[in-house]
């Protein structure tokens, strides 16, 4: 799922309005965790997809 300019606009609008409240931030985090990790066949991992020499084998 790419971050498009429209999605960024929606996200930032939420961040600087409701997102100022801790409950809204918790809600957003829970939703992102569900969408990007728990519901994904291949969960999203930030610290991944670097180069490993065995890719050339």
């Amino acid at each position: 799922m790419k971050l498009t300019p429209f999605k960024l606009l929606v996200l930032r609008t939420f961040n600087v309005t409701l997102g100022r409240f801790a409950w809204a931030d918790r809600l957003l985090r829970r939703m992102l965790l569900l969408l990007l990790v728990k519901k994904k066949e291949v969960p999203y991992v930030q610290s991944a997809r670097f180069f490993a020499p065995d890719e050339l084998d």
Binding site: M1, K2, L3, T4, P5, K7, L8, Q46, R49, F50, F51, P53, E55, L56
Partner: protein, 312 residues
Amino acid sequence: MTATEPLGAPSFAQAAFASLPRALGLEDREPGSETRGCFDRAYWHYRLSDFPSAWFQTGALLLAQAATLPGSPFFGNEKVRDWARAGVQFLVASANRDGSLAEVYPFERSYCATAFAALHASLALALLGDPASDSLVRIARWIAHAHPTDAANQVAAAAAALASVGALARDEVLVKASDARFQDLLALQSADGFFLEYGGLDPGYQSVTLSCLAHLARVRPDRADAVSAVAKRGADALRSVVREDGTYEWRTTRRRTQFLYPFGLVRFAPDLAGRFKTGLEKGRVLAPQWLDDRYFLHLATDFLSAAREEKA
């Protein structure tokens, strides 16, 4: 991976080779991925950015150099060649409708990024033995028609890009546009040989301009003498400010760059390249790995161009 072999000046090649795994880690190498070939990790992986910055696609040239430079740990590797091609393909696919490219915000028409990206993409294709695509020619046409900036290094990049894409596509219109940009560059050279950067002097960008002129001289052998004469005046100006260990006082320059690009020095001023190598061996000058993701790709490609030039 195999051990690296010394090549010409080992310091140039080895300093750049050390950055190759990092460059590969920046690229989306996943087959079938819609962002395959993108080197902007903040876009394709972290999703922190809502557009791919063309600036990162210089990674394609670095991989093409790595796959074609004898002594490289990836010399002759087909996968690396394929990843380099993917980088060029992603670049041309991400261009705006008019052929321009974005660097810092969506739909930006960045003269700087478009010029450097087109130059690097065309150099990559030349190394891989591939022809220029229509999309790359469209990017070059945008450069040909865009109004040049007041930064000499960007005008030099445009001249080199137009000549390089023109040679690859056998497009005389682009080659003629390259001559026009070269004339624009002459207008930005001061009496003492410095190329002006937004009205001021900057040794770091002076070396970038010399590097672009070195590419221009290589792809336009018919203009090599004229280009060399201009570049040597530029090198003379640089000689007056670069110390014996390749460093210079950057705190008082126009743009406060701290780096030097070595390719132009090797081609036009071997004594300055010698000073730079002394600094590199002593750890006094900036090497590619010292820079961040946005800039190390550019400096690493220049190091490999310098290494290739020394071997030639």
